[in-house]
């Protein structure tokens, strides 16, 4: 009979253990794990380098390259005004603040369907002065890895709410950068976790400039020349400090530096040109913080395909 009693106790213990098979939610003080910026939701999307060392009094520091699209003037032949201004959009313009636990969504966005910052909790300055553009903050409780909790998603653009027909948050067409200088944003504010604990958000977001695409690249193996048109956002050549040419090395896939060409130059002769080599061109902005600033490599260009990036 003692054995039977033991079995009953075993059952009682099992019953109690069965009540809740789930781990309790993370308690304690919320902690920002990392901050990064993204520009695409696929594995070929552009990512800004993740900062996992910020916090405390140091702001989380994130830098993104950018891409400039040239202005499209109005076509007088049509009645509609179809002019599009020049835009400099960060390659990774959506900032993700990863925290270790779930937060209070109501402290981040005004309603579950609107990413307007709740109680204007976010303050943004652009190069030290308040940014006039609209910034939105979304609470995203989901995560792709259980090693992290939720995220605060911050972006400059349009509010994505039900019925929104424009691009989604990772495709937001915003105008956060310039063709001539790095733009520094400071994002500060406080949100709460579900227990009411405050989370300090202190981020510096740098958007590097871009001169736009070089156009109509021609690689001529007969003349052994490569020619191109000026970068489309160069601001009338004044902003562009020249072009840095790269060439795919014979033994290594990585392009190696070939030459730098001064502003206004749109051709280069390579006596060693063969039709198996590829070329890359990086416009250089003349003076960013007192130094020449080389934008992203464009290419590859070769004798068969010369895409305009």
């Amino acid at each position: 009979m003692k054995s039977i009693r033991s079995l009953w106790w075993l059952g009682v213990v099992a019953a109690v253990a069965a009540c809740d098979p789930y781990d309790p939610e993370v308690g304690g003080q919320p902690k920002v794990l990392s901050v990064f910026a993204s520009g695409g939701n696929s594995n070929d999307g552009v990512l800004a380098e993740e900062d996992a060392t910020g916090g405390g009094t140091d702001p989380w520091d994130v830098t993104s390259t950018s891409v400039c699209t040239a202005a499209v003037p109005d076509d007088p032949a049509t009645a509609d005004d179809e002019s599009v201004p020049q835009r400099v959009k960060p390659d990774a313009g959506v900032i993700f603040v990863k925290v270790n636990k779930l937060l209070d969504g109501a402290s981040i966005q005004t309603t579950p369907d609107s990413c307007v910052p709740a109680n204007s909790w976010l303050t943004v300055t652009r190069d030290g002065v308040p940014d006039a553009a609209a910034w939105f903050t979304c609470y995203n409780p989901s995560t792709a890895t259980s090693a992290e909790g939720s995220s605060i998603v911050i972006y400059r653009g349009e509010n994505i709410s039900p019925g929104f027909s424009g691009n989604l948050w990772l495709d937001q067409a915003n105008d956060a950068g310039t063709t001539t200088a790095v733009v520094d944003y400071a994002l500060t504010g406080q949100v709460k976790d579900k227990q009411g604990n405050l989370v300090d958000i202190n981020i510096t977001f740098h958007v590097e400039p871009d001169a736009g695409s070089v156009g109509d690249v021609v690689v001529d193996t007969t003349a052994k020349t490569i020619t191109w048109e000026l970068a489309e956002c160069d601001g009338g050549l004044a902003a562009t400090g020249g072009y840095h040419l790269y060439k795919q090395d014979a033994t290594d896939d990585a392009p190696v530096s070939l030459t730098e060409q001064p502003a206004g130059t749109t051709s280069f002769t390579d006596p060693d040109m063969t039709d198996t080599r590829e070329y890359f061109i990086a416009p250089i902005i003349a003076n960013v913080g007192g130094q020449p600033y080389e934008t992203s490599q464009q290419g590859p260009f070769d004798t068969t395909t010369n895409p305009t990036p």
């Binding site: 079995l7 594995n43 779930l102 969504g105 792709a144 890895t145 259980s146 939720s150 929104f164 989604l168």
Partner: protein, 1095 residues
């Protein structure tokens, strides 16, 4: 002296004990000791004669010097034992019931001739009801039980009466395991479907292939756990069935059972997603019925030598389902009557009225009713020859078949694909030999079998040649079919409406040749031993031709003007394009594969009855090996040869007289991977996903006019992958396998305490525990584009060689650099929401089942029988078993469970099948009104907790049901199910042996129609899990499931799609499911009338 002797004689039956194990799987054994009632000492030389209607001739044994005897290989049935010994009065007992695969102990006492007694033959009484010889759990379901209790007509139906049994999507699971983990054994041989592990091979059917009618079955031994090493290839339970045999007299029956559904409950609960236009409900009064009628007869061809048995019965299920259309009542066009019911608008912004109970206010469109006929007809036949060469050698040859045809419906679809016909077939032939040697101390058995099954879809030409089109957005039904009163998507939306041809079609056949041989030897060594050794080999093959109607199953997104091929077979080519295929890949009409597997098992076991303390120790070990290959691709998939399964049991008869026991057991059980993997993972299956150029293929596709002409898509093969469009290859075939792959196993352990408080009445308590060990699953290093097979969470990294399939252990730097180094412990993948690289660990499989059952059992005697059980259990973990309950995917070993690394979070929790409370009550009483008349009344009650409910989201490529938004099973439960059934029967003996029986069963007399399934798709948008949340809620099946969920789990309200939109919530979430393959509600009240003439 006389008093003392009589007391001894009365005590003698108390020594009739169930003991030992290790008998054949189709027969039973009786053993015992004969003693002198006057002295209590054993007597040698006594002749024990066993006779039974189930036995050819008689079986005899002579007691040895210790008075012991043994009679093995006895077919199940009622037996009489007689004892003859010179100088003693003859003794006999006729209460011996031999059960399959059980050994009972029948000790007998004989009285010297010199003793004066009133009776000249010593007769003894009832036998103990406690099985003190084994610690396995489960029950033998007798013919008396089936005859008097309201249960279903087939073996699988009947097995649900056993504690811990629970119906799932593909059958009946036991003790937390899924039904495809079971082993189905008929006449000692495996009849489990080799492709999926179910009973029938067609897993797409709506009306499953019925298992054998109970008329053809002598006995059903349901083993729910703790069985010894002679049983294997299962991590679930065992349905051990023995077909009936002939006898020395002609016996048989003609029977018929008819369930005219029209008599009661003219229509069932309404199925259909909340707020959508298409709805349906069962409409029995349109001619639905279930019927089976047939005969079975057995008798002698040569008395005591050769018997025959044959049976035949068509089993017919006719279903009538009414499909009708509904219009939503919009809040801005309300009549006063409607206004009174409209308490709010739906959250999707359509302005649809919602009632106070959360349901949508809808009106039936006039003239939209349509009756859909579906059903299944199966022709069951069985036959058996039993030949007794001599007392020590017997042969049996048995077979059964069940050709069948069925049709199934799809409701949320166009008329062109409303129904599909399928032909199924199952056929088994089994031969068996049993022999006794060495003065019946050595028992040898040998058996061979052939199993065949097939499933062939029979689509119309249109269904085969036209692509299925699925509209994966809300579209107005009026665009597809006339619906009175609808002019907008707000009024009559349909989601995932199917148009065009049929999607997946297949033609499959499987075969299995099996052989087994065993030898059991009885000897004495510090007690009695029954040692058994056996070899068991199975070779199975599987051929399949499969395709998609029109070569592709297409998904349409009208608002995006987007058409994509969701499913299509093809292969990567050399970069060329053809008129039918775009650059880079070639579309194929169909895929054909043939795969094989060989499973070998060797076991050794012993049942040792210790000479002291009434203790029996059972121990043994089983080794299993399995390999699998594909002939079409000539790929060897895997070879596993180290499945060692030790099992031990200890039983203590604490009463010393067979009326009670304490027992414990532990064992390891391995799962045999079915051949579905051989086709899908080692064949040539390559799925291509692509975007169609809608400008060419769907010129009318737009949000306003969503309809495309499906026939126009036939031959439309101008695929134009555009920037940003989906174009992918899902490589399922030639899947790499970890070179050190280990078998899937489950450890089981348990304890039992049972005591017979009255004659034939036993009470007890039983604990059962199961723990999942390693499992085999396919994993993906790139969120579902390529796969590899291994043991998730275990094993060292390995390298895939250049051929893309072969693998070696360990990784070089080069293999790491070019992505050929894979790990079963985790992957580096990308986050589809941010594009960021993340590290994701593949969790070790977990499945823990713990159950405590208390029970009272009364065997049939004194005109009545009963069984009461209550089980409290819990089942939790991250792996439910061979199939995914969430979407019904049955691909054992290659489900999507580990495919999507970015959706790994939240998989641990309450598993499907976690039903904490299970109450089962059964009873019957027979009134003997006269010599010729008797009336029997039976009743059954089953109470079952609901299933855990999930909140699921979709994956961008895999589609719905893949992301666990909340931890598994956290979103509530489906309703508690009550079911009360009654049975009454009247028997009239016309003239012995002719008897006529009429019976009436009333199933679900309370007419409970609670939801059995739940729509778990919280959204059809691609989302990610909310990791770390704990908001245990009862939202599902509440009045307002979505609102309740958001209140209890506020984070859910902020859920975003992977690309940043607020999700579109499925308004049907948490309500009854809308599945076509399983009943969404309890079957309504029904009557079954039976008649049988037996002789």
């Amino acid at each position: 002296m006389r008093k003392k002797l009589l007391r001894l004689v009365r005590i003698a039956p108390l020594a009739l004990l169930f003991a030992g194990i290790a008998s054949a799987q189709t027969t039973g054994t009786v053993l015992g000791v004969v003693t002198d009632a006057s002295t209590g000492k054993p007597v040698a030389g006594a002749v024990i004669i066993a006779t039974s209607p189930a036995l050819q001739g008689e079986q005899t044994a002579v007691t040895d010097a210790n008075g012991a005897y043994r009679l093995p290989l006895l077919p199940p049935g009622e037996y009489k034992l007689a004892v003859q010994l010179e100088g003693y009065k003859p003794a006999e007992r006729s209460d011996i019931t031999i059960r399959i695969d059980k050994t009972i102990r029948a000790n007998l006492a004989v009285v010297p001739e010199a003793v004066q007694m009133e009776e000249q033959v010593v007769r003894t009484g009832a036998a103990p009801a406690v099985n003190i010889g084994a610690a396995e759990s489960g029950a033998v379901i007798s013919r008396e039980f089936v005859a008097s209790i309201p249960v279903g007509r087939t073996v699988e139906n009947v097995s649900t009466v056993v504690p811990t049994a629970s119906v799932d999507q593909y059958g009946v699971g036991f003790a937390g395991a899924q039904s495809p983990e079971n082993a189905y054994i008929l006449d000692g041989m495996n009849v489990t479907d080799p492709v999926y592990g179910t009973f029938g091979g067609n897993t797409n059917t709506q009306i499953s292939q019925p298992s054998l009618l109970t008329n053809f079955i002598q006995e059903i031994d349901v083993k729910t756990g703790g069985f010894m090493p002679e049983y294997g290839r299962t991590t679930g339970g065992i349905l051990n069935m023995v077909t009936r045999t002939g006898s020395n007299e002609f016996h048989g029956s003609v029977f018929g059972n008819f369930t005219p559904r029209l008599l009661v409950d003219p229509s069932g609960e309404v199925n259909g997603a909340a707020g959508e236009a298409v709805a349906w409900r069962s409409k029995p009064d349109e001619g639905a019925y279930d019927a089976d009628f047939g005969f079975e007869v057995g008798g002698p061809i040569q008395k005591d030598k050769l018997w025959f048995y044959a049976g035949f019965a068509p089993v017919i299920t006719e279903r009538r389902t009414e499909r009708f259309l509904r219009n939503n009542v919009l809040a801005d066009t309300l009549s006063p009557e409607e206004a009174a019911q409209c308490v709010g608008e739906d959250p999707s912004g359509y302005g649809r009225c919602i009632r106070s109970d959360g349901s949508y206010l809808q009106t039936t469109a006039p003239g939209s009713s349509q009756i859909i006929d579906t059903g299944r007809t199966t022709y069951q036949f069985t036959g058996k020859l039993t030949y007794l060469l001599d007392e020590n050698n017997s042969f049996t040859l048995s077979g059964f078949g069940m050709p069948s045809n069925s049709s199934r419906y799809r409701m949320n679809s166009a008329a062109t694909q409303r129904t599909l016909d399928t032909d199924d077939n199952i056929f088994d032939v089994i031969g068996r030999y049993g022999g006794k040697f060495l003065d019946k101390h050595l028992i040898v058995e040998a058996a061979g079998s052939w199993h065949y099954s097939s499933t062939v879809d029979q689509p119309t030409n249109f269904q085969r040649n036209t692509s299925a089109l699925r509209y994966s957005e809300d579209v107005p039904l009026s665009a597809f079919e006339p619906i009175a009163g609808c002019s907008s998507v707000e009024q009559c939306p349909v989601f995932q409406y199917m148009d065009g041809g049929w999607d997946y079609l297949n033609d499959q056949r499987s075969n299995r040749l099996a052989g087994k041989v065993s030898a059991a030897y009885l000897f004495e060594a510090l007690g009695s031993h029954n040692a058994k050794v056996g070899l068991d080999v199975e070779r199975s093959s599987y051929e399949i031709d499969k395709d998609y109607g029109g070569n592709a199953w297409l998904d349409l997104f009208p608002s995006l003007s987007r058409i994509r091929a969701f499913r299509s077979y093809g292969f990567i080519n050399d970069g060329s394009a053809t008129t039918d295929s775009p650059t880079g890949f070639t579309i194929v009409d169909s895929i054909a594969n043939q795969s094989n597997t060989t499973s070998t098992a060797v076991y050794l076991q012993d049942s040792w009855q210790l000479p002291v303390a009434n203790v029996t120790l059972n121990a043994g070990i089983r080794w299993e090996g399995q390999n699998m290959s594909n002939d079409t691709t000539d790929i060897t998939g895997f070879s596993i040869y180290n499945n060692w399964a030790p099992r031990v049991q200890a039983i203590w008869d604490f009463t010393g007289n067979g009326r009670g026991k304490l027992a414990g057991s532990w064992g390891r059980f391995f799962y045999m991977i079915p051949l579905d993997m051989g086709d899908r993972s080692f064949g040539n299956e390559v799925q291509v996903r692509y975007q169609l150029d809608n400008a060419v293929c769907a010129p009318t596709l737009s949000e306003a006019t969503p309809v495309v002409n499906p026939t126009a898509l036939t031959g439309c093969r101008t695929y134009e992958p555009r920037s940003g469009d989906l174009f992918g290859i899902l490589v399922g075939g030639a899947t790499p396998v970890h070179p050190d792959l280990q078998g899937v196993y489950v450890d089981q352990f348990g304890g039992q305490a049972e005591y017979e408080i009255l004659s034939d009445v036993a009470v007890g308590v039983e604990y059962n525990g199961r723990r999942q060990g390693q499992t085999i699953e396919d994993m993906s290093p790139d969120d579902g584009n390529h796969y590899f097979i291994g043991n998730p969470g275990y094993g060292q990294p390995f390298t895939v060689l250049e051929d893309g399939h072969s693998t070696i252990e360990g990784c070089t730097q080069a293999a790491i650099d070019d992505g050929r180094c894979l790990s079963t412990k985790g992957v580096e993948t990308f986050d589809p929401s941010t594009g960021r690289t993340i590290q994701v660990a593949f969790p070790k499989p977990e499945r823990s089942y713990d159950a405590l059952t208390v029970f009272v059992r009364k065997n049939f005697s004194q005109n009545w029988q009963g069984s009461v059980s209550y089980t409290y259990s819990y089942l939790r973990g991250n792996l439910a078993g061979p199939y995914r309950e969430e979407d019904g995917q049955i691909d054992p070993g290659i489900t999507s469970e580990y495919d999507l690394a970015s959706l790994t979070a939240n998989r641990f929790g309450r598993l499907p099948g976690d039903r904490p409370h299970q109450v089962k009550l059964f009873g019957s009483y027979t009134f003997n009104l006269s010599q010729r008349f008797n009336v029997s009344a039976g009743a059954a009650y089953t109470g079952l907790s609901g299933n855990p409910v999930n909140a699921l989201g979709a994956h961008p490529d895999y589609g719905e049901g893949q992301a666990f938004i909340l931890p598994r099973g956290m979103a509530g439960r489906s309703p508690f199910l009550h079911n009360v059934d009654l049975r009454g029967s009247l028997s009239y003996v016309i003239r012995p042996p002719y008897a006529l029986q009429f019976s009436v069963d009333v199933f679900n007399i309370l007419n409970s129609q609670e939801a059995r399934t739940t729509d778990e798709n919280y959204t059809f948008d691609a989302v990610q899990p909310i990791a770390g949340i704990n908001c245990d809620t009862s939202a599902a099946h509440s009045g307002d499931p979505i609102g309740q969920l958001k209140r209890d789990c506020p984070d859910v309200a902020y859920l975003k799609t992977v690309d940043g939109r607020p999700v579109t919530v499925n308004p049907n979430w948490g309500k009854a499911g809308t599945f076509a393959n399983v009943p969404n509600f309890q079957f309504p009240l029904s009557l079954r009338f039976g008649v049988a003439l037996s002789f």
